[in-house]
């Protein structure tokens, strides 16, 4: 038993000798606390910039997407033009002459006028006269 204790003591001496100079900190307790506080403050300051920077970045990204969308839609304006759509549905080609005719129809949508316009379009003036 005492042999065991002697061995333990020898082990403790060996380990303590190995650690003799290794375990000396370069800073005292209060210095370490001060350095720790400084680092914490620096981290807080760095963190304070993250939110505003992210918000500005997100806003800029939204603005770019919005501008690109507006540009794209304005290039599609003709396709959204009501007159063009209706002209296409009624079989007219999308020329300015046809659009003028369409304007005239909307101003006077009587049957006679419409038939006259149709025949005029089909070059059937003779038939109109016959009728």
């Amino acid at each position: 038993m005492s042999d065991n204790k002697q061995q333990d003591a020898a082990l403790a001496d060996l380990i303590k000798a190995a650690y003799k100079d290794t375990a000396k900190p370069s800073l005292s307790f209060s210095q370490m606390v001060a350095v720790g506080r400084q680092k914490e403050e620096a981290k807080k300051k760095a963190r304070a910039w993250i939110l505003p920077t992210s918000l500005v970045g997100a806003f800029a990204a939204c603005l770019v997407v919005l501008l690109l969308t507006i540009r794209y839609l304005s290039s599609m304006d003709e396709a959204w033009d009501l007159k063009s759509i209706q002209a296409a549905e009624t079989g007219y080609s999308n020329t300015s002459e046809d659009l003028m005719a369409f304007d005239a129809i909307t101003e006077d949508p009587s049957i006679d006028f419409l038939v006259g316009k149709y025949l005029e379009k089909q070059n059937l003036f003779d038939l109109k006269e016959t009728l």
């Binding site: 082990l11 303590k16 003799k20 290794t22 370069s26 307790f29 370490m32």
Partner: protein
């Protein structure tokens, strides 16, 4: 600042640093950073001492857990980084560190930690187990195996 806690930590400063070194694989920069964080945690009541064990045992547990967390985050940040290389060079230059490393070279990390707590910091096996967050049975097994290995080494030295 809680004066009582500050006094206790001042008294344990050297021992805490050597334990932090062990938990940080003898990287002095990291050990100092760990200790700074631990002191702030304790002083700002982020880590609360409830008196369930001795203050030393509790403080060493906080150091072990903090070192584990920081090593994990540091490793992911600094692998391949210049800072990492500088820390390695600084470590190689310390002959004392090599002494300690040579002494525990044949022990596992847990065994080395246990031996340091028992033989260098004079904790009981139960306190050491509590500090390391392992059961008494596991601590006892590690202790016996490590002691056998170190005794063989001791015979070699003698």
């Amino acid at each position: 600042m809680n004066l009582n806690l500050a006094e206790l930590m001042t008294a344990l400063h050297d021992a805490s640093f050597s334990w932090a070194l062990r938990c940080c694989d003898f990287k002095r920069d990291l050990a100092e950073e760990v200790l700074q964080n631990v002191y702030l945690k304790v002083l700002d009541n982020k880590a609360l001492f409830r008196g369930e064990s001795s203050f030393k045992t509790w403080l060493f547990s906080v150091i072990r857990v903090t070192a584990h967390e920081m090593r994990r985050s540091q490793m992911s940040k600094i692998i391949g980084n210049e800072k990492f290389r500088r820390m390695d060079v600084a470590e190689e230059k310390s002959e004392e560190t090599l002494d300690v490393k040579a002494l525990f070279s044949e022990l596992s990390e847990k065994q080395a930690q246990l031996m340091e707590l028992v033989f260098y910091h004079d904790l009981t096996l139960e306190e050491a187990a509590h500090t390391m967050g392992i059961s008494m049975g596991t601590a006892s097994t590690h202790y016996k195996r490590a002691k056998e290995i170190l005794k063989q080494k001791l015979k070699g030295v003698a």
